[in-house]
């Protein structure tokens, strides 16, 4: 499979910070949710905290 080019046209600030902001929000939500109870809350908490690591792993596997 051909890799997509890393270098692209100029992006807006909103576009650049969109993914990092979503990942940070997921981390915060996950960390706080884990404090509020056991069971499904712990499971969802772990999934939200895992999300940023999963995103890194995906990009690492496609590194150029």
């Amino acid at each position: 499979m051909k890799r997509r080019a890393d270098r692209i046209g100029q992006q807006s600030v909103v576009r650049i910070v969109a993914v990092p902001a979503v990942l940070a929000a997921a981390s915060l939500a996950g960390l706080v949710l884990g404090l509020t109870g056991e069971g499904w809350r712990d499971a969802l908490s772990a999934i939200l905290v895992f999300l940023p690591l999963a995103v890194f792993a995906r990009h690492w596997s496609r590194r150029g």
């Binding site: 990092p20 981390s27 905290v49």
Partner: protein
């Protein structure tokens, strides 16, 4: 972004990082085993609590007066300082010392099975885990060490914030997640530093900010004792401290506090004259009755001589924030999956710190202008080796 603006933020990022990096690496490395302290201690000593059938020591068992008398006998006299309860097992601990205001290194910790009343032995605060915790908390320097690490935590947050600002011009023409490993070592490190730094942003901010709050734990407790708690016991103002010989029944005091707030479970008792009580009271700290408020404690002050409740009031907001920030800093609240993720995020942060250090060490001779050009062009200029 203007070159001058990038330059300013670059200098903020550089200096906040240079001052704090070595300490942050130490905190990440010592923090890694601390995440699993429960599991490691259970492996080393056997799971004491699991082998103890019976009701939780917080709710029932032999009288507290009996347990405390046994602890003082084991200590060879002295005064009780704290009682610690378990919410899961009959395990109960009593801290004893030579005087009510004994320093931490003069204290001894005795454990008992509250259901049977039998001694389970003295808990020695030593060994590798204790060493790591001390290093992580204050580097064996007491309060100055704690406050110093708090300042390092503040610099960590400054480095994160300035790093996010610099991420924007760097990524202006780069796709999110770009990892260019086939070019120079410097471009590879820049990309790892940026991507790992930005995905761990939320976690690192939470651990950094809660770490700063934890560094101020002792001054916050002192200010509670001298402020809000002094208000609760205004009627005792001017009276000499209560002599330990006149301490009344702890069980009577506990009954008075539980009558005022039925349904709540006690977590620990601070004895008169210590850091967690007044000179006249048993301070009984109750947990809230929901999972979230179970981390936040409410003290009931009971006159240690008469066993009558003086007052029960929530702690000030900053002290409540401190209590909530403990689990959020140590990551020991959400079960093993969350702990494993905590460990991975910790390792990712070490990698961000190490790549940052390499980026600073390399190409120092080229000066700030080259660094600013590198950031402004996403590593296209200034990074070629």
């Amino acid at each position: 972004m203007q070159q001058a603006t990038i330059r300013t933020w670059f200098l903020v990022h550089k200096w906040s990082s240079i001052v704090s990096t070595l300490f942050l690496v130490m905190l990440c490395v010592t923090g890694l085993p601390l995440i699993f302290h429960d599991e490691i201690e259970a492996l080393a000593d056997g799971d004491l609590e699991a082998s103890m059938p019976g009701p939780a020591s917080a709710s029932d068992g032999k009288p507290l007066d009996v347990i405390v008398a046994k602890a003082l006998a084991e200590n060879g006299g002295g005064v009780p300082l704290f009682i610690g309860f378990s919410q899961e097992s009959p395990l109960i601990t009593v801290t004893a010392g030579p005087r009510p205001d004994a320093a931490a290194d003069e204290m001894r910790l005795f454990s008992f099975n509250r259901t049977t009343g039998e001694s389970v032995g003295e808990i020695k605060e030593e060994g590798v885990m204790h060493f790591l915790l001390q290093l992580h908390t204050d580097m064996f320097l007491g309060l100055p060490g704690m406050l110093f690490l708090g300042v390092m935590g503040f610099l960590f947050v400054v480095a994160i914030a300035s790093g996010v600002v610099l991420y924007v011009p760097f990524m202006r023409r780069l796709r999110f997640g770009t990892l260019r490993t086939a070019r120079s070592a410097r471009v590879r490190r820049l990309d790892y530093h940026n991507l790992l730094g930005v995905v761990t942003l939320g976690w690192a901010l939470v651990v950094g900010l809660t770490g700063i709050i934890n560094a101020f734990a002792d001054p916050l407790t002192d200010s509670w004792r001298e402020g809000a708690m002094a208000e609760m016991m205004a009627a005792y103002k001017g009276q000499p401290p209560l002599d330990p010989g006149r301490f009344g029944s702890i069980d009577t005091a506990m009954a008075a506090a539980k009558a005022a707030q039925p349904g709540l479970s006690p977590q620990f008792i601070g004895f008169p004259g210590g850091a967690w009580s007044s000179a006249h009271h048993y301070a009984i700290f109750f947990q809230g009755d929901t999972p979230l408020t179970s981390h936040v404690l409410t003290p009931a002050l009971v006159d240690a001589e008469t066993g009558k409740l003086t007052d029960m009031r929530s702690m000030p907001p900053l002290n409540q924030a401190l209590m909530l920030s403990k689990p959020l800093h140590f990551g020991d609240y959400g079960g093993l999956p969350l702990k494993l993720l905590w460990a991975l995020l910790d390792i990712a942060t070490i990698w961000v710190l190490v790549t940052g250090l390499y980026l600073w060490l390399g190409k120092r001779a080229n000066g700030t202008d080259a660094r600013v050009a590198e950031i402004a062009t996403g590593g296209a200029i200034g990074s070629m080796v």
